[in-house]
């Protein structure tokens, strides 16, 4: 399988009044064709900023300060705007968290879909309209012609997210970045959306980065999982490996925090403390202050280590089972 | 013979003047106030009359000094104590071509006092008068008592056409259909609030005006009016604000003309209430009204620095007043001079009257009626305060002011104690202010209608009444002067100054100033 996207040592910092926020601070990963990569982290971990960095959608005071993003072999980190514009929505599409907020409320669905095609292809409007209609059909929207004439608020949340997915697939992109696309949805609707996304990626061979805080979602969906903490990927590997045999204490803790049938009625594993202040990061391992395995050696930054084809940033990999 | 040739010479030169100006000369005049209708009888008010007199003639006209001159009547005289005979001008035609005769006069006199919805009719001038047609060019007007002011009264009434105007409504006049007169200009266009346009009447019986077209534009704000003149939007403006006179004088492109008006600015003092509402003791408590004492009134007059008012407030554009009309008007006294400014004398008089420490007083005045009215009130306040009469100043829009000043108290009496007002003698002679301001208030006879101080002196009343019955001009003049002197002696009212009106025109034009404050297109001459 070929690499669609290679991200190396990506750093995206925000230069605020209060100081520099290192939202993304050295992220590496690779996404291969047809593969789903789950990017997991809690709020503030920098997972969304990673997604926006790939698309070149970081606004001041933020910017990519370092690292490379190679898309289909070409370097796109800090590429000129026109070049990025050609990629966006065309080769790399994005799906956002809240479909209520992302669809422009005063423009009809057809306008918003057709413009996504016409921005990249010089084809008759009618053709673009037909392609939009077909795309809506593909994501399971009944009577798509009617829906095309509708305004976003006339559709339910699930419908809107289907529209967003259809729009993402309009130009047959090589990569889709989905940023918490189901967080705002109910369980049954979430299942529907994941179903459509899964179906389409399988059909088209499009690679996907699925950004979420919910380990359970990526467990069932992703081929690989990257776990982010405080701007860095702390653990990376095949889904089964990461979920079943986590190595990083943070991953271990995260998995332990998720309530499930076999822990019923017991106290949950608790990661003490809270997410670090992005303005005042601890030196060395960012997780050290909360880590049960931390030693004085943790105040140096852990290097990336490869263990069984997995990447890890930890001085003390947890080789023995999950804490419970 | 020489007389005739001169006349011809004048006539030809006039003709030549008229001929040269035939080439469409348009005059645009910025007015300070706006007429309320084109119906000459609708509203007896300065701005209305000024416009009406362009389109309509009167039997008797007034020249720029308000002296009576022949209009549509060539002559008038009393044929007995109670009857006046008017001989009408022959060969005059209305703008629509119909001839002018006695019928038009009779119908005018019938219509003028009684126009529907009229806010202020000409009734006052026609009351007690009955007109009678003797022949086509003779009209008799009768009164119940001897009435010397017949011609003055008649000089206010514009004559309308029997056929076109007499049965017409005010709206017909505004639309122009009924606005048919014999005057020097024909009705052109009337856009309320915007403009009034008139065309020259080429068949006018008198001197043909120099202007083929005249447009009047009401621009009420003074500075805007001046700006319009400076910007060249209008050729001439009336009512130049005193503040701008100096600058305009210095401006070579502008020609000013000034003339004293028939308007006196004066102070009325409460002389009928023991407890006057706006007079207080030095401690703020109620005291017996000191204004009833002639000494106090004279002291107040002495405390007023009339020259300062004229010089500082009016920027030199006014005359200090010592009586009710300026010199040159019928019935003024030659013996009266403006009261000398004498603050020490005023203080002494006050002490003599029993007010060595003065008292408290409020002066009330309008702020949008007379030239610089509020500032004058304030200046007077300052001056009185300096002699010990601690005066506060309250000015208000005339809409509020006049009603309160006339009958604002709970009993329907004049509300204020000490007020600033003005009086313009429409008739152009002294009986007008004497009758309305000085004579004892008498509702039934119509005397003292504006006597808001309620000054009352039987001796003066008698002189005034006698004058009003005296047809002989010389004798009447004497009586009027005498009444004036008595009133001033008594300090019945305290005159401060006479207004001087100013017009400004662009270079090459000049306006012949009028004492009645009217702005006539016919008065604008090319230099």
């Amino acid at each position: 399988m070929s690499d669609v996207l290679q991200v190396n040592a990506l750093r995206t910092h925000f230069f605020t009044h209060a100081g520099v926020v290192k939202a993304v601070d050295g992220v590496d990963f690779t996404v291969r064709k047809g593969e789903v990569m789950g990017l997991v982290g809690e709020s503030g971990s920098g997972k969304s900023i990673t997604g926006f960095s790939i698309l070149g959608l970081i606004d001041p005071p933020g910017r990519i300060v370092d690292g490379s993003i190679r898309f289909n072999g070409a370097e796109i980190a800090n590429a000129p705007e026109p070049e990025l514009q050609k990629l966006r929505g065309n080769r790399i599409a994005m799906i956002f968290q809240d479909p209520m907020m992302t669809l422009n409320p005063v423009l009809r669905i057809d306008t918003q879909m057709i413009e996504a095609i016409l921005a990249h292809e010089d084809i008759p409007r009618q053709t673009a309209w037909e392609r939009s209609r077909d795309a809506l059909g593909l994501v399971g929207i009944p009577s798509p012609e009617e829906r095309l004439r509708a305004y976003p608020h006339q559709l339910s949340g699930g419908m809107r997210q289907r529209v967003a997915i259809a729009t993402a697939f309009l130009n047959r992109p090589d990569l889709i970045i989905a940023d918490e696309p189901t967080t705002a949805l109910d369980v049954t609707i979430q299942a529907q959306i994941i179903h459509e996304a899964q179906k389409l990626t399988r059909q088209t061979g499009t690679a996907m980065i699925w950004i979420t805080h919910d380990l359970a979602v990526v467990a069932g969906l992703a081929d690989h999982i990257s776990v982010m903490y405080a701007g860095r990927i702390v653990e990376q590997g095949a889904t089964d490996d990461v979920i079943d045999r986590p190595l990083h204490p943070y991953t271990v803790g995260l998995l332990g925090s998720v309530p499930s049938a076999n822990k019923r009625g017991q106290r949950l594993y608790q990661i003490e403390g809270m997410t670090p202040n992005m303005l005042a990061m601890p030196t060395g391992c960012a997780f050290a202050p909360r880590c049960r395995a931390a030693t004085p050696g943790c105040d140096t930054a852990p290097p990336i280590t490869d263990i069984d084809g997995r990447h890890l940033r930890c001085h003390h990999p947890q080789t023995v089972g999950v804490a419970s | 013979m020489t007389k005739v040739t001169t006349a011809i010479a004048v006539a030809t030169s006039l003709f030549a003047l008229a001929a040269t100006s035939v080439s469409a000369e348009k005059l645009t005049i910025g007015l300070a106030s706006e007429p309320t209708a084109m119906d000459p009888h609708f509203h007896n008010l300065g701005p209305n009359n000024a416009i009406a007199f362009h389109i309509f003639d009167r039997l008797v006209a007034q020249d720029e000094k308000q002296a009576l001159t022949p209009g549509l009547a060539v002559s008038w005289e009393p044929i007995d104590d109670l009857t006046w005979e008017f001989k009408l001008r022959e060969g005059v035609t209305f703008h629509d071509g119909s001839p002018f005769n006695a019928d038009d006069v009779i119908c005018t006199i019938t219509r003028a006092p009684d126009v529907p919805n009229s806010p202020s009719s000409f009734g006052a001038y026609l009351k007690g008068k009955t007109a009678e047609k003797i022949d086509d060019y003779t009209v008799h007007i009768k009164t119940a008592e001897p009435y010397p002011l017949m011609a003055n009264d008649i000089s206010t009434i514009p004559i309308i056409s029997d056929t076109a105007g007499c049965s017409a409504t005010t709206e017909d006049f505004n639309a122009g259909t009924a606005a048919v007169g014999t005057g020097p200009f024909k009705f052109g266009d009337y856009k309320p609030g915007e403009s009034i346009t008139m065309m020259r009447n080429d068949n006018y019986w008198g001197d043909t005006p120099a202007w083929t077209e005249v447009e009047f534009r009401p621009i009420k704000s003074g500075p805007s009016r001046v700006a319009a003149l400076l910007a060249g939007d209008v050729d001439m403006i009336a009512g130049v604000p005193t503040t701008d006179i100096a600058t305009l004088e210095a401006n070579e492109d502008i020609q000013l003309s000034q003339g004293v008006s028939n308007r006196v600015i004066y102070l009325h003092l409460d002389q009928f209430r023991e407890n006057s509402p706006f007079v207080k003791g030095t401690d703020g408590g109620q005291i017996k009204n000191p204004l009833m004492d002639p000494k106090v009134r004279t002291a107040i007059s002495k405390a007023i620095n009339r020259d300062a008012i004229v010089d500082r407030v009016m920027e030199g554009v006014a005359l200090p007043a010592g009586q009710l009309l300026p010199d040159g008007f019928f019935g003024v006294s030659e013996n009266l001079e403006p009261m000398e400014y004498d603050p020490e004398g005023a203080k002494a008089l006050l002490a003599e009257a029993g007010y060595p420490d003065g008292f408290q007083l409020t002066i009330h005045g309008p702020n949008d009626r007379y030239i610089n009215d509020a500032k004058i009130a304030e200046a007077i306040g300052q001056m009185l305060t300096r002699v010990g009469i601690k005066t506060s100043v309250e000015t208000m829009p005339r809409s509020v002011y006049f009603g309160r000043a006339s009958k604002g108290s709970p009993e329907g009496l004049p509300e204020f104690s000490f007020i600033l007002v003005g009086w313009g003698a429409g008739s152009g002679e002294a009986s007008s202010p004497l009758k309305s301001l000085i004579h004892t208030y008498d509702k039934d006879k119509g005397f003292g209608s504006s006597n808001r101080g309620r000054h009352s002196n039987a001796e003066i009343d008698a002189v005034i009444e006698e004058a009003l019955r005296t047809v002989d001009d010389a004798k009447r003049q004497e009586l009027l002067a005498k009444a004036t002197e008595m009133a001033i002696e008594n300090a019945a009212i305290i005159p401060t100054h006479f207004q001087v009106n100013t017009w400004a025109a662009k270079k090459g034009l000049e306006y012949i100033p009028r004492t009645d404050e009217y702005t006539f297109a016919t008065g604008v001459v090319k230099q």
């Binding site: 926020v21 503030g44 920098g46 997972k47 900023i49 | 500075p223 509020v400």
Partner: protein, 305 residues
């Protein structure tokens, strides 16, 4: 993008960061607003100290002499002091008149602002809390009031009520209370539906307590913003009314009266009579508006990152 910055300031801070302190430090981030506040402070100070720092009491007719009228800046008055800004048509020293005028303009603005705020706040809170028909009626009245230009309402009222500071304040209050009522009601409605109000209900706290202790303090921020803007507006409106001849009395001039009086001198080259009060008005209103602008930025949660 809640992801961008998570301001976790729980790390022990040197001192407790009260909302007020935070507000103050944010306010002074803008240099323009800081300058404006200083200018405003200076203006207020000048106005307050007017009787002690002016050579003349322009309201005392015994001290005003018409013979001093229309003197250009720098002239000497009869009483001996120098009129640095010249005098007006009645002989008032403009420097003194402007400071006294500021007193009036500011007090008219502030008084009408405070009264309108109090009334508007009470009515707005009542509407928000009562709901139903009461709210409906109140809000219809507010809508109607708002659909009329304040200038027109004030103009009519002053025409009806007559002159005087009290009357103009009353007119301005009537013209402006609705802005406050709408603002309070809008925020109160939002606040009322917040969970902390439900929590207070759950805790059995009385209605009055909930309204005044919980909802009201949270409505203050937008009210302050509206208040500053409306105060500036009131000052300007008073000047306009005075210009139209229905404002304050001639002898106790506010800035508006001074400008209006000077207006007639403009074309005659006596610029100072109108220009200096005009500048004073301008500085006052602009600085209030600038302060208000910054308040809006600081207090508006929508612009917060």
């Amino acid at each position: 993008m809640s992801d961008v910055i998570a301001p976790e300031t729980a790390a022990p801070a040197a001192k407790v960061e009260t909302p007020f302190r935070r507000f103050v430090s944010e306010f002074f981030e803008s240099r323009i607003a800081t300058v404006a506040l200083c200018v405003l402070g200076l203006i207020i100070l000048l106005a307050v100290l007017a009787p002690w720092i002016t050579p003349q009491n322009p309201y005392d007719l015994a001290q005003v002499d018409v013979l001093d009228g229309r003197l250009p800046p720098g002239s000497e008055a009869f009483a001996g002091y120098t009129m640095w800004l010249g005098s007006d048509g009645s002989g008032r020293d403009l420097y003194s008149a402007i400071l006294y005028g500021l007193r009036i303009s500011l007090s008219v603005g502030v008084a009408s602002g405070i009264i309108a705020l109090a009334i508007g706040m009470a009515i707005g809170l009542l509407a928000a809390y009562a709901g139903g028909r009461t709210e409906n009626i109140i809000m219809r009245v507010v809508d109607l009031q708002l659909s009329f230009p304040a200038a027109l309402v004030a103009l009519m009222l002053v025409a009806i009520l007559g002159k005087g500071i009290d009357k103009i304040i009353l007119a301005l209050v009537v013209a402006q209370w609705a802005y406050y009522a709408r603002t309070v009601r809008g925020t109160a409605l939002v606040e009322r539906n917040k969970e902390y109000v439900e929590a207070a209900q759950c805790l059995g706290l009385s209605r009055l307590r909930v309204v005044f202790r919980h909802i009201l303090p949270n409505c203050l921020a937008p009210l302050i913003v509206v208040g500053t803007v409306q105060t500036a507006h009131a000052i300007s409106l008073e000047a306009t009314l005075s210009f139209l001849g229905v404002g304050l009395p001639q002898t106790e001039p506010s800035l508006g009266v001074l400008i209006a009086n000077g207006f007639e001198y403009m074309l005659s080259g006596r610029y100072w009579i109108s220009v200096f009060p005009g500048l004073a008005l301008l500085f006052t209103v602009v600085s209030i508006n600038l302060v208000g602008d910054q308040l809006r930025d600081v207090l508006n949660p929508r612009l917060k990152k």
